[in-house]
Symmetry: C2
């Protein structure tokens, strides 16, 4: 989406950094990818389009986007990270199916409130959180 690239440019400028060809290609690809993706996914998607960016540049761009708060990482505890866009998405948590690996997003205000309440009670100032529920998704439940 054009809007995301514009937002990226704006944030790059604020940091005195450059919009290179590689960054543009990578950002375009990322924001046209829905759902969750790994660094490797992006690399392969780019190659499918006949474009080749180095692995290092992909990682560096993902880090940059994360610092710019355009991207967030999800640690699925599998030895590599997944990313998802943040722009225009509200905070949510994740179900992770242990059978098929499917990741389903959910969000719940009461849950957020409760976490804040617990934090306050323990005199802890919350900044962010990560909740992952592991289990079996509806599809996989039916399959057995």
């Amino acid at each position: 989406m054009q809007r995301d690239v514009q937002e990226f440019m704006k944030r790059l400028k604020a940091r005195r950094q450059r919009l290179t060809t590689q960054r543009k290609k990578i950002v375009d690809k990322i924001f046209s990818t829905h759902g969750h993706f790994s660094a490797d996914d992006i690399l392969h998607e780019l190659r499918k389009d006949g474009y080749r960016a180095s692995r290092a540049t992909v990682y560096r761009t993902l880090a940059l986007l994360t610092e710019c708060n355009l991207l967030e990482t999800i640690d699925i505890e599998k030895g590599y990270k997944l990313y998802e866009h943040v722009l225009g998405h509200r905070h949510h948590d994740h179900f992770i199916c242990t059978k098929c690996g499917r990741i389903v997003e959910f969000s719940n205000d009461a849950l957020e409130d409760l976490q804040n309440e617990i934090s306050r009670r323990m005199d802890f100032r919350p900044i962010s959180h990560s909740l992952k529920i592991y289990g079996v998704c509806s599809k996989c439940q039916q399959e057995r």
Copy 2:
């Protein structure tokens, strides 16, 4: 604690595996360590006691204990894993202080219930979950 070692032996037997000197030393050390620890912590603690187990054996034993449901991992998203005992501890979640790295445990029934409720509503059968709240602990709040 003796009881933990006994439980370990029982579970080893059930899997037709052996209680070696190394495993005994490692398990003793683990269950006399309170709080959270890394593979490296265990290795160093053992060396302090003048005992040397290979790094590979420590990792293999940690994996074994995890499979036996005597240990659980906490992924602190720092490139290495922490472990904690499970035996005799009820499930809990973690605050992680982003200033000092301190990890504080908490548990809350309403939170558990709510998560189960949300799972049920989404037709997802929950097995386990991981909630980490990142923020600033009370000590670090006072320091600035």
